[in-house]
């Protein structure tokens, strides 16, 4: 461990490499986490299938490459398809558990996660897949730091998507209805908002966001039917750290988590890269608990 820390001090450019790798992938984590926060805030359903929706998006990009189409073109298609899938899932499952207690909705979404994993496994098989973007690699600092262009493209796309979502939430009627429902579902209902439709739209929009994140992930890392869980956990860590309805917080937490993973992977070894995510979740929960205690409130 100390060797690795001293390595970072001797060769400061390594920090740049790790930071870039982490922050750029963190932007995609933030995207998926924002979708989770949205559903959580509006419907109060904690979606444990979040990561599996991401992986589904990845497989849509993979299908595009097998058809000889550039995977980046899968982005809008994946969003549309996943929107439809999300709507369907809301109607079939979520709408039945939305009024129930926390445990029921956790169980339902966990079941959904298992079903998605197994279906992907049946359709695509257990081997890892990638979607090759064919983009070049940039050399910074005389080649000592390398950066895949696809990561920059993904960052820009993730940014554009986030901006579009914010714009939509602020200006459109549906966006306003979503925000109203999040603030007080009962009041919104009295004011004539069809909250059931709002819930369905929110869940579908979340699925679309996840689909987009998945397309980007498949071009940067690798996907496999059972990889969803780690994205679910990351999303939960980010949302728990940032809080609901706090987009800047989600972005900062997402980027930070990406960087934290890279640095812990370097210093402690790759086996701690994902352990860091879970470790951070515990830490965030403890800090939140202490903050809430100061305010004499119970963390719900």
């Amino acid at each position: 461990m100390w060797d690795n820390i001293s390595l970072l001090i001797i060769a400061p450019l390594l920090n740049v490499q790790l930071l870039l790798d982490g922050v750029l992938i963190g932007a995609i984590f933030a995207l998926a986490a924002y979708g989770l926060a949205l559903v959580w805030g509006v419907t109060n359903v904690k979606n444990l299938a979040q990561g599996d929706l991401v992986i589904m998006g990845g497989y849509i990009a993979y299908v595009f490459t097998t058809l000889g189409i550039h995977p980046i073109l899968a982005l809008p298609v994946a969003m549309v398809l996943m929107f439809g899938f999300g709507w369907l899932i809301y109607r079939l499952i979520i709408s039945h558990v939305i009024e129930r207690d926390l445990f029921t909705s956790l169980l339902a979404t966990f079941g959904l996660a298992l079903v998605i994993q197994q279906l992907l496994n049946l359709i695509f098989g257990p081997d890892v897949q990638i979607a090759e973007s064919g983009f070049d690699i940039l050399f910074l600092f005389g080649g000592q730091v390398t950066l895949a262009e696809i990561k920059l493209v993904a960052l820009v796309l993730a940014g554009v998507l986030a901006a579009m979502i914010v714009f939509f939430m602020k200006t459109s009627r549906m966006g306003q209805a979503i925000r109203a429902t999040a603030q007080n579902a009962r009041a919104a209902k009295i004011m004539g908002i069809n909250t059931d439709r709002v819930y369905a739209f929110t869940f579908a929009m979340n699925a679309a966001i996840c689909g987009a994140a998945g397309v980007l992930i498949s071009m940067i890392w690798v996907i496999q039917p059972f990889f969803g869980t780690s994205y679910s956990i990351r999303s939960f860590v980010i949302v728990t750290a940032a809080g609901l309805g706090n987009l800047p917080g989600v972005i900062v937490a997402g980027l930070g988590l990406g960087a934290a993973e890279q640095f812990s992977g370097f210093v402690l070894g790759a086996e701690f890269q994902q352990a860091t995510v879970v470790g951070l979740l515990v830490l965030v929960l403890i800090i939140r608990q202490l903050q809430m205690r100061r305010q004499r409130r119970v963390v719900s």
Binding site: N4, L7, A11, L14, Q17, L18, D21, I25, N121, L122, G125, P126, D127, V128, I130, E132, I137, F139, G143, T146, A148, I217, W221, V222, I223, Q224, F226, F227, T229, S230, E261, Q262, F263, S264, G265, F266, G269, A270, E271, Q273, Q274, A275
Partner: protein, 413 residues
């Protein structure tokens, strides 16, 4: 008294059921057919390789039946395999092994796919003293339990990447350096198979006096190893060894390219499963990949002839194979071992057959087969192939090599 009646009834039922089962339990040899049994992964996460193995079994059975069958006691018998799908779960595999032995009366077993499943089934076959010839469980922990009825035709997992160290040592010496100057970076998944591979590398590194500069464990749901590779870039080892199933190979190949890793020797397992030559054409150039078997090897034996002839026959029999996976070849070899042992035992007595198995010494298209007291095959080496111009060429050990190793590796990033 009254409340005990259901228990009596249940006991009676269990007894009659037991008798019923015993009645059907005579299926080891039916007429002129010898029945082999196997629980194999036809669905679930191991299904791809499970089906390769099944195809291997079936091809050998077909071949043997077409060329005179198995001659025991002057009579020619045909072979037949009873399969059950273990759904890639060890618990199910163990259950099905019980069922094959207890219910179907199978006396001769073929192995399942993967070390995990073999680990689950071996205690069952051992309990009933039913010999099992397996072809897909490479974990060395299978051969440290003192099993008497388990025989494996493949090389054990600690040999997978160890050969890359001796190759690195040879290259170092050729270039006027000492073997002990070689610095190794290791990245192994934290699962039983990859950790066995790691143990083999550690042993050889110690023997050769090589220094290990990175020793990272990769997580199970690995999709990023750029932190490890950044370390590799900084420390510039002479040899990088990676093992993490196909996800490890795919992730490594993608990120080797992304980080422009210039390590002169890079060896990894599961190159073919991850389809690195197709997906990472430039980055995969010069990678060293171990394999149990290759169709270009000059092995030769009865039934199938040479490795190349087996390759042709397999492709002609099963559509959709561009190359023959070694998982299929070794499965076929396991069936050949059964034929050989049954003929030498000249009996269907499981103990006699077991003894015949342990005395096996044969040449096959898959390589030589001779079992140690522990049951693993010690006569066949692991071969190392290098990706050269997009195709896999055997480069080590020297006696089987078809091409010189390219050093340093020349990736086309």
């Amino acid at each position: 008294m009254f409340h005990m009646k259901p228990i009596y009834a249940a006991t009676a039922m269990a007894v009659s059921l037991g008798l019923g089962l015993a009645g059907t339990a005579a299926a080891k040899v039916e007429g002129d057919t010898i029945i082999l049994g196997s629980a194999i992964s036809l669905t679930g996460k191991y299904s791809t390789n499970g089906i390769h193995a099944q195809n291997g079994y079936e091809l050998a059975v077909k071949r043997i039946n077409e060329t005179g069958g198995v001659v025991v006691g002057g009579k020619s018998y045909k072979l037949k395999v009873v399969y059950y799908d273990d759904e890639s779960t060890p618990a199910r595999g163990a259950q099905l092994a019980e069922r094959l032995i207890q219910q179907d009366g199978v006396k001769f077993m073929l192995g399942p796919y993967s070390s995990g499943l073999t680990k689950a089934i071996a205690p069952v076959t051992e309990k009933y003293k039913i010999p099992m010839v397996e072809a897909e469980g490479a974990s060395r922990s299978l051969f440290t339990q003192g099993y008497k009825y388990l025989f494996a035709v493949l090389s054990t997992s600690e040999q997978y990447l160890a050969s890359s160290l001796s190759l690195a040592a040879q290259i170092a010496e050729k270039n006027g350096r000492k073997a002990s100057d070689v610095r190794i970076a290791m990245a192994f998944e934290n699962d039983p198979f990859s950790q066995d591979v790691r143990a083999g590398v550690m042993d050889d590194a110690k023997k050769l006096g090589m220094k290990i500069v990175i020793d990272d464990k990769l997580p199970r749901d690995l999709s990023d190893m750029s932190a490890t590779l950044t370390k590799v870039k900084a420390l510039k080892p002479d040899l990088l060894v990676v093992s993490g199933h196909s996800k490890g190979a795919a992730t490594a190949a993608r990120q080797l390219q992304e980080l422009r890793i210039q390590t002169p020797i890079v060896a990894m397992t599961h190159c073919e499963a991850a389809q690195v030559t197709a997906k990472f054409e430039g980055a995969s150039e010069g990678l060293l990949c171990p394999t149990q078997w290759a169709e270009s090897l000059s092995y030769k034996g009865e039934a199938f002839g040479t490795a190349g002839e087996y390759d042709k026959l397999f492709k002609a029999t099963f559509a959709g194979y561009k190359s023959v996976p070694y998982q299929a070849a070794q499965a076929s070899a396991a069936v050949l071992v059964w034929k050989d042992a049954l003929e030498r035992a000249n009996s269907f007595d499981t103990l006699k057959v077991r003894d015949a198995l342990s005395a096996t010494e044969m040449q096959t298209f898959y390589g030589n087969i001779k079992f140690s007291a522990a049951g693993n095959n010690t006569a066949k080496p692991m071969v190392l192939r290098q990706i050269q111009g997009g195709s896999y060429n055997v480069v080590a050990p020297a006696e089987w090599a078809s091409k010189e190793v390219v050093f340093p590796r020349n990736p086309n990033y």
